[in-house]
Symmetry: D2
Subunit: 298 residues, 4 copies
C-alpha cells in the first residue's frame, strides 16, 4: 500500500488529503497547527507531529503551502522533506511558487536521491473538495507517470507540460489570463452600467460569443451583485502576479496587458482589499471612473 | 408576406440575406456594386438598383455596412433609408457603429415615423453562414418583439439589452473583451515559449480552468501555428476599439486594460498588419520581446 | 495704426488684450458677457457688442476661446469672424483646438480671403499677465512674419513650427509632455514618501540632474503641500489630451505613456477633481497606492 | 592625510578616483583588471592588488560598481570591505543598488564597527570627469558631515536625503523620471514627425515652457539625429528600473507610468539594443507606430 505524506492541510490541502484517504491511500498528514492533522486522522488518515515523522516512511510526499518561504522551510530546512525523505521517494510540490524556485527544488531533491515534480493546481477550493482540480506538471516523464495514479484522486485534468519548473510556468500564465480576464470583465461591466444597459442580459450575450470566458460564466453574476466573498483572495493573486512579472523579466518577455493587470491587483491589495475575492478588481475600475455601486443601479 | 430590404451584401450581409430568403421572406437586396444584388436574385431574392427602390415597399429594412460613414450615407442621405422608407416600417441597423450614432439614427428614424433598432452581431462570417449569430439589440421592447421572427433567421442568440444605442454599447464591450483576451493569450503563449514549455498541452490545461475562454478554444491552435488568415481583420477591430474608447471617454469610464489593448491593436494596424486576423497581436508581443516564430520552435 | 479685434476675454484673453493695448494697438474687445469687454475699455481699449462689430474694421483678429465648439461658433458661425472680417485681414486663433480643426479653419478663412494662423500658447495665466507666453505657430511664413510684431506684445518665445495646424500639433505634444511629467513627479513623490525620504531635499537633488524638469522647478513644492489651486485645471488638460489621442490615432502614432497619462487625467476628472490643478494627479497615485496625505507626514 | 580606498575603476570610477587624487587625497585604487589600478598610479594614486590591501589602512572606502552581485562580493565577501576595513572607517557605496540591499550593507557594516553611507550619483561620465555629479546620500547625519569634504571632490550637488537606503530610493526615483521623460520626448518627436512639423523648432519651443526638461535640453538633438551612442546604456537603465519596480511593489506603491516606462526599456533590451543609449526608446516608439527614421525626413 502506498504511503503518502501530505504537508500543508489548509483550505486547499485538507480536502485534497481527504480525497487521497478516500481513494484508499495511507495518508500521513502534517500541519504547523496540529489540530488540522488530527482532523485528517478522524477521516481515516494519520497525524504526524513533525515533517520528519511524516516523510520518513513515505513513498510519496506532497506539499501544498501558501508561499515560497513556507516551501523553502518545509522542503529545504535541516529537518525538511529533502533532508528526511527516503531516497527514491517521489516528491510532488503542488504549491504555487516561481519556476526558478521549482527548478532549484528539483535540483536539490535529485541530489538527495528524490524524484521531484512541480504540480501546481487551478480550480480553487471547490475543485479541491470535488477532486476536479486541473494539475499542470513539470518534471521527468517517468516521474509524471508514477505520480499520475495519486494525482487522479485529486484532479480531473492532469497534464505534463515540460521539464522541471514548467508546471509553475504554466500556472503563472494561468494567473496572468485569469487576472486579465477579470479586469476586462470588470471594465466591460462598468462601461455597460455607465450606459444604462441591462447588464445581466448583456453578460448572457457576451458569454455566448468570442468574448466568452470562465469569468463571465462563473463569476460575473457575483460581480454584478458586488459579492466579493472569496473564492481566491486578491492578496494571493497579487503574490502570483509577482511570480509572473519576475519570471517574464528574467526571460526578456514583455507583457503589456499582464503588467497592467498586475498593477491593478497591486493597487487592490495596497488599498486594503487583499482579503476580498480577486473579482474585486471591479471596485478599482469603479473608483477610477468615479462611480459607486449605487450608480450601477440607476 | 413580409418584404425585407437588405442593404449591404458583403462578407456578412450576403449570407444573412440568403438565410432570410431561405426562411421564406421576400428579400430585396441592394449593394453599391450591383453584382452582389444579382447574386441574391439567383438565390430567390430580388435585386434593387437604388436604396429608394429597395426600401419603398419594405416592411423591414436591414443595413449591414462596414463603418459609420457608410451608414450615414445609406441611412441619412437625401435618398436614403430614413427619407424613403414608408412610415411604420421597422429599420434594423446591424452594422457596428458608435452608440451615439445609433441614438442619432433612432431619433432621426422616429421623426420620420420609422421604428428603429440597433442590432449589431458577433459570430463572424461562419456565424452569418450558419445563421447562428449572437445579436444584441437596443430599442423599444415592442419593436424588438416585432423584429424577433426576422432575426431568428440569422441568429441563434437574440438578446434585448436596453434602449436605443444599447446594442452598440454591448457590441463595444464585446470587442473590448475579445481584443483583451487575444492579447492575454498572446502574452501567455510568448511567455510559455520563452520558457520551453509544451504550449499545446499548456493551452489544453489553461482552457480547462478559470483561465478558459473562447480564444483558447477556437483561436489558440492557429496562433501556435502562426496562421493569421482572417477571420476578423485587425483593421476592423482597430476601428471598433476606437468606438469603445470614444464612448468610454464620453461616459467618464476609465479602461486601463481596454486602453492598452486598443494601443496594441492600433500598433498592429500602423505596422501594416491590418489585413491579418486580430490574433496577429501575437506578432506584436513577439516583437516587443525580441522573439521570432523561429525562437518558439527551439 | 493697427486695429486688433480680440474675441474671448477670459482668464487668458483679458491680460493678453490688455498687453496689446499697452503696446499701443487699437484693440476692440468682444466677449459673450459684455462686462469683460467694458473692463478692457477702461484700460484704453474699445468694447464691441457683437463679433461683426468687432471684426468689421480690424486688420488683425485674434480668438482666445476655451474649446472647439466655441471656436466653431465664433469663427464659422453666420455672423462669425470668417463671414464678417474684411478680406486681407490676418486671423490668429490662439485657442487650443485639434490640428484637424485648425486646418479646416485655415481653409475656410483662405476661401474668404483671410490669412489664417494657428498660434496656441503655453505659459498659463502668469505668462499671459507678464506677456511671456510661448507661442507655437502654424501657417504661411509671410503671415507669420506679419503677425510677429503683434505677438511680441503677448509672448516672449515665438516659433513658427510648420504649415497650418502645426501650432496645434506642437501644443498637443506640449500637453503630452506636461501631463506625463506631472504623473512621473507624482509617482516619484509617493514612492519617496512611502520610503520615509526627505522629499524636499530629494526634489532639490532630482531637479539638478537629468531628471530635472519644469514641474519639479515650479510645481513640486505645491504638490508636496497638497496645494492644488489652479493654475491649469485638470478638466482642460483632459480636453487637450483628447485632442492628442485623437490626432495620434489618426496619424497611426502609438503613445504608450501618453495613453497612460490621458487615462490618469480622465480618471481625475471622472472622480470630480476637474477644477483642481492638473498636478492633482498626485491624489490619484496616492489613491492607487492606498495612501493619504497623512501617510506622507509620517 | 586622509587615505581613501577606491574600489571599482570603470567608466565612472576612474575619473572620480582621479579627481580625488587631484584634490590631494592619498588614493589607493583597486580593480578586478589590475591595469586600471596601475593607470591611477600614474596619476599620483597607488595601486592595490587586493581588496584587503586597499582597505586595510584606509580612513575612507568608496565602492563604485556596476550591479548588486558585484557589491555583494566586494563588500560582503570573506576578504571584502566589511571584513577587512578597520573599525571606525567610513564606507561610502556609490553604486546603484536596491534600497533594501543598501540597508543590509549598512547593518552589516555597523556590526563590524564601520560607518556606512549609500551615496549613488547622477550626471553620467561627463559629470564624473568634471567632478560635477549630483550625489544623494542616505545615512546618519554625522557620517554625512564626515564624508562631505571627500564628496566635494567628485560632485557639485551633495544632498543628505534620509536614513540608510534613502540615497538609493532617491536614485530609483531619479531613474523613474529620466526613463519616463525620455519616453515622453520620444513619443512627442514621433507624433510631431508624423504630422510634418519642424521638429527642431518644436523642441525649442517645448523646452521653453512647462514641458521643459533636461532631456529636451541635452538629449533631444541627438534623438532627432538618431544618434544613440551612449551616454547611459539601456541595459543599465533596465537594471535600475528593476530596482524601482521591486521597491515600489514591496512598499505597495503603484506606478502606472513607471511600470509602462519599465516595460518599454525592457523591450529595448530584449530586442538587443541594450548597448545603445537609453534615448533609443525612440526606436521603440517608431516601431510601434510603424515608422522608420526615413519617414521622419519626409
Amino acid at each position: 500500500m502506498t504511503t503518502i505524506a501530505f504537508l500543508g492541510l489548509g483550505i486547499m490541502g485538507a480536502p485534497m488529503a481527504a480525497n487521497l484517504v478516500r481513494a484508499g491511500y495511507d495518508v500521513v498528514g502534517y500541519n504547523r497547527s496540529p489540530a488540522r492533522a488530527e482532523r485528517l486522522a478522524t477521516l481515516g488518515g494519520r497525524a504526524a507531529e513533525s515533517i520528519a515523522a511524516a516523510v520518513g516512511d513515505a513513498d510519496v510526499v506532497i506539499t501544498m503551502l501558501p508561499d515560497s518561504p513556507d516551501v523553502e522551510q518545509v522542503a529545504l530546512g535541516p529537518d525538511g522533506v529533502i533532508a528526511r525523505a527516503r531516497p527514491g521517494a517521489l516528491y510532488i510540490d503542488m504549491s504555487t511558487i516561481s519556476p526558478d524556485f521549482a527548478v532549484r527544488l528539483a535540483d536539490a531533491g535529485r541530489a538527495a536521491g528524490l524524484r521531484v515534480l512541480d504540480a501546481p493546481v487551478s480550480g480553487g477550493e471547490q475543485g479541491a473538495i470535488d477532486g476536479t482540480l486541473s494539475i499542470m506538471i513539470g518534471g521527468d516523464p517517468d516521474d509524471v507517470a508514477a505520480a499520475e495514479p495519486v494525482l487522479r484522486a485529486v484532479g480531473s485534468t492532469i497534464v505534463h507540460v515540460g521539464p522541471a519548473g514548467s508546471g509553475q510556468t504554466v500556472k503563472a500564465a494561468n494567473q496572468l489570463i485569469v487576472a486579465g480576464t477579470i479586469g476586462l470583465v470588470a471594465e466591460a461591466i462598468v462601461f455597460l452600467e455607465a450606459h444604462g444597459v441591462d447588464t445581466e442580459r448583456a453578460v448572457q450575450v457576451l458569454a455566448g460569443g468570442l468574448a466568452g470566458n470562465a469569468i463571465l460564466n462563473r463569476k460575473a453574476a457575483g460581480m454584478l451583485r458586488r459579492d466579493f466573498t472569496p473564492g481566491f483572495r486578491s492578496a494571493l493573486h497579487h503574490k502570483d502576479l509577482g511570480i509572473l512579472t519576475t519570471a517574464a523579466r528574467r526571460a526578456g518577455v514583455v507583457l503589456p496587458l499582464g503588467t497592467c493587470a498586475a498593477a491593478l491587483m497591486a493597487s487592490l491589495t495596497a488599498q486594503g482589499h487583499g482579503d476580498l475575492d480577486h473579482t474585486a478588481l471591479l471596485k478599482l475600475v469603479e473608483q477610477l471612473s468615479g462611480r459607486s455601486p449605487a450608480d450601477a443601479e440607476s
